[in-house]
Symmetry: C2
Subunit: 549 residues, 2 copies
C-alpha cells in the first residue's frame, strides 16, 4: 500500500520512511460526526495503514507530516456506501447487452440485432434492462418478436427489475419449455392469446426454468466481471456496498481478488439464502477480512417479488389486476425457521419485502422472534416500498433497519399509482415517516436494477422528483428527507446497517480513509447540480481507486 500511495503522491522517486503520514490539505470536507451531525473540515491526515489519523478544522494548526497533498478546495465527502447492490450483477451487466436506455420495442430489437452481430463467438446472447412500461408497449414483448432480431442462437434477456425474463424460441427450446410446461410455484410462464403457447416471458420463480439452461459463466468471466463491477462502482464514488445475495461463486471471486490484492471495494455480504450462508461462512459470520474489505454479515431472503411484474405481495389485489395479490415466496413457518437459524449463528437477516403483505409478514416474523435474541441484531428489511400505514410504527421496533432505494421511488411512482391506486400510497417509500417514528434508514440503489449513481438517489431523496423535475414539488413530498439525512443514509447509516460503524462511513480518526472528491457541495447545491455531480477521485483506505482524469 505504501508504494502505491507514494506513486499517487510523488512525482520523484524518494524512498518512503517506515511510517509515512500524509496530509491532504485545503479541501471542503463534509462528514457525519460521531453524534450524527454534519461536521465540516479542511484537512485530513492519513496514516500508513490507510486510516484517518486526524481531522483538521478551519483555523486548526496542520501537523508536520511526511507528505502533503493540496486538495485545491475541492469538496471531499465520505466514500458512498450503497446499502443494497448486486455486485456481480453490475459486473456481468457491464459485460453483457444493456437495454436500459431503449425507449421502444423497435429500438431494443435493433440493439439486440447489432449486439448479436458484434458478438458472433458468444453461444448465447444474454442481456438485461428492458422495460415494457418505459416502451409504452402496454404488454410484455414476445419470443416471436425476439426471433425477428436473432434466430440463430438462444437469447435470454432479464427485465430491468430482474423479476422477469424474455426468451426467444431457441432459448425456450434449449430449456425444454413447451406448451405442457407448468408454471412453478411462485412463478408464471406467460401464455399467448391461445392460453397455451408460452409467450417467451418468464416471471419470478419461472425465470429459474430459463436460467437453468443458460451456460454458467466460467471463473475467468466471473473474475473479469468483478473487476469491472469495482470500476463501475468506484466511478460513481462508491467505496462500499452491501451485496445482496452472495453465492459461493461470487464469494470465491471476492476472495480471489482479496488474496491477490485487487479487492478495492468494501463488501458487506448477505448470502443468497441459508444454505449459501452456511457454505460460505460456516457457523458464524466471517471476520472482517482484507483490512475491513470483506465480511459475510448475514443472509438475504426473498419474501416477495417486484411491483413491475406484479410479483409484490399485497394485502389487497392489484388495482390494475383485480384477481392478483402477487406472490409470497416463503411460507410463514419457513421464514421464521430461517430467521431463527440465522439469528442463532449471529447472522443478520435481510428480508426483501416490497408489497404491503410482505412488509406486514416480515414485521410480524421479526416481532415474534426478536424477543428471543439478546444483543444488537439490526434486522434488515430490504426495499420496504409499500407499507400499510398501520404497520409503519413497527419499523421503529427491535432495531429494525429499513434499507431503501430513493431512486425506486422516482422510477416507480407512476407505476405504483397504476398498480395500487392513489388511496393506497400513504405508506409508499415513506422515508420521512419512518425516521420521524424513530426508525433507521439505510440508502442504496439496487444496482443493476437502477443505475448505481448515488447523486441521482441523493437528489430523489431530498426532492421526491425525477431527473425531469417531475412531479413539480415532489411526489408525496412530505416523505422527503433533509440533505443531512440523505448524506447520512448513503454513508454513516449504511455503514451502521452492516455493522461497519467505526470502521468506515465517516471521516473521523480511526476510520478507514475512504472518500470522494466531487465538484459539487451536496449540502449547498441545487438538486439539479447534485444530479450532475462529477466524481473527480475515489479513494479507499488511503489509496486512489478512481480518477476522472
Amino acid at each position: 500500500m505504501k508504494l502505491k500511495f507514494a506513486a499517487a503522491f510523488l512525482a520523484s522517486a524518494i524512498a518512503m520512511p517506515a511510517h509515512a503520514d500524509v496530509l491532504i490539505d485545503n479541501v471542503t470536507g463534509i462528514t457525519m460526526d460521531a453524534d450524527g451531525k454534519v461536521k465540516r473540515f479542511e484537512a485530513l491526515v492519513i496514516d500508513d495503514d490507510g486510516k484517518i489519523a486526524q481531522v483538521i478544522e478551519r483555523g486548526q494548526e496542520r501537523p508536520r507530516t511526511d507528505y502533503r497533498e493540496d486538495g485545491e478546495g475541492r469538496v471531499m465527502i465520505p466514500g458512498i456506501i450503497d446499502a443494497h447492490a448486486h455486485v456481480m450483477g453490475v459486473g456481468f451487466g457491464a459485460l453483457t447487452l444493456d437495454l436500459s436506455d431503449t425507449n421502444s420495442l423497435e429500438e431494443a430489437l435493433d440493439k439486440i440485432r447489432t449486439f448479436a452481430a458484434e458478438n458472433e463467438a458468444r453461444p448465447w446472447i444474454l442481456g438485461r434492462g428492458w422495460n415494457q412500461e418505459k416502451w409504452g408497449l402496454g404488454r410484455f414483448p414476445t419470443a416471436e418478436e425476439l426471433d425477428s432480431a436473432v434466430s440463430d442462437r438462444p437469447v435470454y434477456l432479464a427485465r430491468v427489475d430482474g423479476h422477469a425474463g424474455w426468451a426467444n424460441s431457441l432459448a425456450m427450446r434449449a430449456a425444454g419449455i413447451t406448451a405442457d410446461t407448468k408454471s412453478p410455484s411462485g412463478g408464471r410462464i406467460e401464455k399467448l392469446a391461445d392460453g397455451k403457447t408460452p409467450s417467451g416471458i418468464f416471471v419470478d420463480a419461472a425465470e429459474q426454468l430459463m436460467n437453468a439452461a443458460v451456460p454458467a459463466p466460467r471463473p475467468i468471466e466471473r473474475d473479469l466481471a468483478f473487476i469491472e463491477a469495482q470500476k463501475v462502482l468506484h466511478s460513481f464514488g462508491i467505496t462500499a456496498v452491501a451485496d445482496m445475495g452472495t453465492t459461493i461463486e461470487d464469494w470465491q471471486a471476492f476472495r480471489r481478488a482479496g488474496d491477490n490484492g485487487s479487492l478495492t471495494l468494501r463488501i458487506m455480504s448477505y448470502a443468497a439464502g441459508p444454505d449459501q450462508m452456511t457454505l460460505i461462512s460456516g457457523a458464524r459470520p466471517s471476520l472482517w477480512l482484507y483490512d475491513d474489505k470483506l465480511r459475510m454479515n448475514g443472509v438475504k431472503l426473498y419474501l416477495d417479488g417486484a411491483l413491475g411484474s406484479r410479483g409484490a405481495w399485497l394485502k389487497q389485489p392489484y388495482s390494475d389486476d383485480p384477481h392478483n395479490n402477487g406472490l409470497p415466496l416463503m411460507a410463514p413457518a419457513q421464514l421464521r425457521n430461517v430467521l431463527v437459524r440465522a439469528a442463532q449463528g449471529g447472522f443478520q437477516p435481510a428480508v426483501h419485502a416490497i408489497g404491503t403483505a410482505a412488509n406486514a409478514e416480515a414485521l410480524a416474523a421479526i416481532g415474534e422472534i426478536a424477543e428471543s435474541f439478546d444483543g444488537d441484531r439490526r434486522w434488515r428489511i430490504e426495499h420496504v416500498q409499500i407499507v400499510d400505514p398501520a404497520d409503519l410504527p413497527k419499523l421503529a421496533e427491535h432495531g429494525i433497519i429499513s434499507s431503501m432505494q430513493p431512486v425506486h421511488q422516482t422510477s416507480d411512482m407512476f407505476m405504483a399509482e397504476a398498480r395500487l391506486g392513489e388511496d393506497r400510497l400513504e405508506g409508499a417509500y415513506a422515508w420521512n415517516t419512518i425516521l420521524e417514528m424513530g426508525g433507521r434508514l439505510a440508502f442504496g440503489s439496487d444496482t443493476p436494477v437502477e443505475s448505481p449513481d448515488p447523486f441521482a438517489g441523493f437528489a430523489a431523496a431530498i426532492t421526491r422528483s425525477n431527473a425531469a423535475g417531475e412531479p413539480f414539488g415532489g411526489w408525496r413530498a412530505t416523505e422527503r428527507v433533509t440533505r443531512e439525512q440523505a448524506l447520512s443514509g448513503f454513508t454513516a447509516d449504511a455503514a451502521y446497517a452492516g455493522f461497519a460503524e467505526g470502521r468506515f462511513g465517516r471521516l473521523l480518526p480511526g476510520e478507514r480513509a475512504d472518500f470522494v472528491l466531487v465538484d459539487v457541495d451536496p449540502l449547498l447545491a441545487t438538486p439539479e447540480e447534485i444530479r450532475g455531480t462529477k466524481v473527480l477521485e475515489t479513494w479507499v483506505g488511503g489509496q486512489k481507486v478512481y480518477d476522472a482524469d
Copy 2:
C-alpha cells in the same frame, strides 16, 4: 506470532523488540540440503517472520540474537510433509468410532455397542477402520450382524481403505435400499447368499447410495474436526500435508482457520474433482495464502478403487476372483479431458492409480498430453501400487511424481499376494526401481486409511518389514530405499511434489522454520528404534504447535 514466540521462550515478561531473532542452539540437526544431500547442523537462527535466517554447523560462530534456546542436544529434523493425506478424514475420524484396532468381528461389535451407548444423542452412529481381512473373517460382515449390536439407530461404518461401507438395516432403510436397488456403475451392492437381499456392504460407487443418506456434518462440526486433525497430525511431527480430495466445505473450513489465526498446518490442496477445483480456485491455482500455509495446487482424480475391496483395476483378473478385473472409474476420454482442462489452468493433476491397468492408463494419458504443455507440470500419480514392470520406465518421464505410501506395502503385502499371486508382484510398491530409473518419489501415509505416523512409514521404507519384523529381511527387499531417501521422501521430495520447494521442507536459510524435535536419530538408529520415535515438539513457522509435555 512474536508474542507466542516470546511465551514459548521467556519465563519472565520482557517487552519484545520490533525485530527479534531467536537462536536455537545445541541440537543434533539433520536436513536435506540444496543438492539433495544430508546436511548436519548444530543451531538455527529464526527471524521474526518465522523463517530460517541462518543454519550453523559444528564449530561455526553463533551470532548475537535477541533470544537463545538450548536444544539440549535433541535431534531436530525438518517438519514431516505427508504427501497424501485426507485432512478432514483425520479430523472426523478422531471424532467418530474407530474400529482400526479391532481384531475380530466380535470385538468390533462390542466396541460399536459400547460407543452407541456412550453417544445416545447421536442420531446416526458413524465410524471407520474395519477390516475383515484383519479379522480373519474370510468374507464381508453383514447388516444382520451389525443389527445385533445396534438396532435403534442407523449405523454406517467405512472400511479401513474407504472403498467399502457397512450398514445396518435402519441405515439401509434410511437410504431407501431394497432388493430392487441396482448397483451403480463403478460400484457394487453386495448380496446375501440368496443373490437378492442386500448384505449391508456397499463397494466403491455404491457407497454413495449410503453416504447420500448420512446427515451432512454441520459447519461447527467441520471446524472442530479440522482443529482436531491439526492436533493429531502435529503430534506425529507432521507440519504439512497434500490434502487429497478437498471439497468446497473442507476449503472453507481451512480458510476460516486461516482467517482467525488457528491454521497451523500447511496444506497443499488437491480438489475433489474438476468442478470443486473450479469452484474453489477459479481459473488458476490459488496463491500461497496465510504465509505459505494454504494453496490450491490441483485436482485429485480417481482412476480406480483399492486392492482390498478388489476395486483396483488390473490388466489381468484377480487371482482370488478370476472373473473380476476391478473397475475403471473414468472413461479414457473423460480422463484426458479433465487432465487437459486442469493443465490449461496451470493446475496439477493427481491421479489415483492402484492396479496395473489404472497405472498404465494414467501413464498413457499423461504421455499423450504432456507434450502439449510447456513448463514444469509435475504430473502426480497417487499410490502407484501395482505397476506392470513394462510400464515402470514411464514413471521417469514427463516429470511424473510417484506419490507413494510406504506403510501400504507392509499393510497390504500378504493381501497383494492373495489378490495377484507371487508372479505378478515385480512392479509392486517398486520404490527403488522407480528411483533408479530416474523417477521421483514423494512419501505419505494416506491417513486416515493408515496411521499418519511417519516413523512407521520411514521404517517400512528402509526395511520392507512390518512392525512385527515380518517378513524377516523384508518383502521384495530390493525395493527398499536408503535412510536418506526415506527422509527426503517425507520432507524435501514431498515439498517438491507440491511446488513448495524453497518455502518449506528443508532447514535452509529463507525457508519456513518448520521442524520436529525427536528422541531418535533416524539416520543412525535401528528400524525398531525409528518405529518407536517419540515426537517431543513440533514447530511450524517458528511457533511451537505441539509439545509432548
